[in-house]
Symmetry: C2
Subunit: 331 residues, 2 copies
């Protein structure tokens, strides 16, 4: 069985050995089956979302944080945790597309575009519910609390992003707080869930949670860099999409610090793809992207220090590799 698509984390999969690859294939199989038995319309819309794939980075983190050498029962618990996290991730994407009225995601029509707001809202609710229903099978209230804390943070992050839309006074701190809610929270949950499902010691659960937070922030910083200079055939979206949606990102904030003509811009004036790309070019002409990358590298270095010595070598090395790929990727 093939994984959904080539991922920037292929190298990690290879280094992780057959065990992790087999678990990742289990995730794909379960995601494919998740909407069976729930009626035609839901099956169509949920399956199209699940099949649209993605990097499957969150399940990968679950497995590496869990370690690959557990009993069969532990591995099943890890797969359920991994599928739950990916379902929550997908649920938020489906609802984000409703909120944004987005026509395309990962090169395919969104559920919103194909089936309308009603089906998309209900499909997102379905995916959230399925995540908790599945994770409940692990019979560990700590895992449920971990996932629901992440869901709460995601909802707050979504609200923060809407509240900040088109605001001209978003500074780096406010931006990072939003990233923490909207992106890092599910990375924290992935790492903690892997550790909890594998029965790791509390100190390791906490250290992996901190690791997740830092790589999650680094991941978002790189996403924002790719929004400015990513190749659309790699990222699957146009450059400047964030700016077109009125979202102030760190590259823009830092560009404004080195080029005063870019400070506190009115994003309402970025009303076409051409204008968005022009603003991207102006940001790229400053040292902002370099600064953002440097911050991301710093986060990854801190993340690595959380796990070095705290976890046995195969896991800590693989996590280091994931962290590196997160800041080196081009898609």
């Amino acid at each position: 069985m093939k994984l959904a698509e080539a991922t920037p984390f292929e190298e990690v999969l290879s280094a992780g050995g057959d065990e992790i690859r087999r678990l990742m294939e289990d995730v794909e199989r379960q995601l494919e089956r998740i909407s069976l038995g729930y009626g035609d319309q839901l099956a169509r819309s949920a399956t199209s979302t699940l099949a649209a794939g993605g990097k499957r980075l969150r399940p990968l983190l679950v497995f590496i944080c869990g370690g690959g050498d557990g009993t069969v029962a532990e591995q099943r618990a890890l797969v359920r945790a991994a599928v739950s996290v990916e379902l929550v991730h997908m649920a938020t994407l489906v609802h984000d597309d409703v909120i944004d009225g987005a026509p395309i995601r990962r090169g395919r029509p969104t559920i919103y575009a194909a089936s309308g707001r009603e089906v998309a809202t209900a499909t997102g609710d379905f995916l959230f519910s399925r995540a908790f229903s599945l994770l409940g099978t692990n019979r560990d209230p700590g895992q449920i609390r971990t996932l629901s804390a992440a869901c709460l943070a995601l909802a707050r992050g979504e609200l923060a992003q809407r509240r900040d839309a088109y605001a001209t006074d978003v500074d780096a701190d406010r931006y990072l707080r939003r990233c923490e809610l909207k992106t890092a929270s599910l990375f924290v949950a992935s790492c903690r869930l892997g550790a909890l499902a594998a029965g790791r010691a509390p100190s390791q659960v906490e250290a992996l949670g901190r690791f997740g937070r830092q790589v999650g922030l680094a991941f978002q910083l790189l996403d924002d860099v790719l929004d400015v200079i990513g190749a659309p055939d790699q990222t699957g979206k146009q450059r400047g999409t964030d700016l077109l949606e009125g979202t102030t990102t760190l590259p823009l904030i830092l560009a404004g610090e080195s080029d005063p003509s870019l400070a506190a811009p009115d994003l309402h004036s970025i009303d076409s793809r051409e204008r968005a790309e022009e603003l991207c070019d102006r940001i790229a002409a400053t040292d902002a992207l370099e600064s953002v990358r440097r911050r991301a590298f710093d986060l990854v270095r801190d993340a690595r220090s959380e796990v070095d010595g705290n976890l046995p070598p195969p896991s800590s090395e693989l996590l280091g590799l994931v962290a590196d790929r997160i800041v080196e990727r081009s898609k």
Copy 2:
């Protein structure tokens, strides 16, 4: 502390004694506090939803099914279960209002109307997440599975209702299957959660689940009767709202059986409040409402037989009283 509003279940509260009333007041207090600490905008939108009140019928069912005589720890678990169920109920209302573009609910502007689609979608997600986060504290995977099964059914019911909108071929069976998903599922969860949180025997949990299913269906049948003949100052909404939204209900289906001119109507032609009220009058002129009420009474009788003898008298009598009020209410 006052309960949110006068409820058709006031008599049940009185019969239930101080214990249940105190637990219901705990629910109000927890609902009021639920959004504190999550940022201003969310607090405003969630608080306005929670404060808008409602009949609090689902928490009441949790408490009666749990019995009022448990330890302090059991009572805390019951309150958490009750608040979780009410939060899920509210989350679905908030998302329904987004889907319907509804301006008013319970006489107040909806979150959708007051704050837009983004805030409303995220608020619904927040309320769902908070429900699972809270219920997770009960440390019982069976309770999580019960609530997530209900959430799945609710999402499927929402989809079924959209799929059936303006369809002319919805028969009574299809209508009842939809009610089972969209309404009865959360009544089932309320009754089961009460029984689980109180540590009742498995056979009682199952019997109470069946009770919940039957009163849930009866509740929806009465709602549909009230949509046709309810007084707007009692129900808080215009007559014929379902019909205006293209929703075929049992009164309409049965009216079509006794008056052929009402069979398989094109609800697209019901495009104004006046036309909706006119159709309501024509439905009320048939024996359809009487038939629907009779079905609801039959369901309540079956529901009562599930608990008589299966539960000790105070609980079974209170449940019988709730079931009666469900089919006798005018709001």
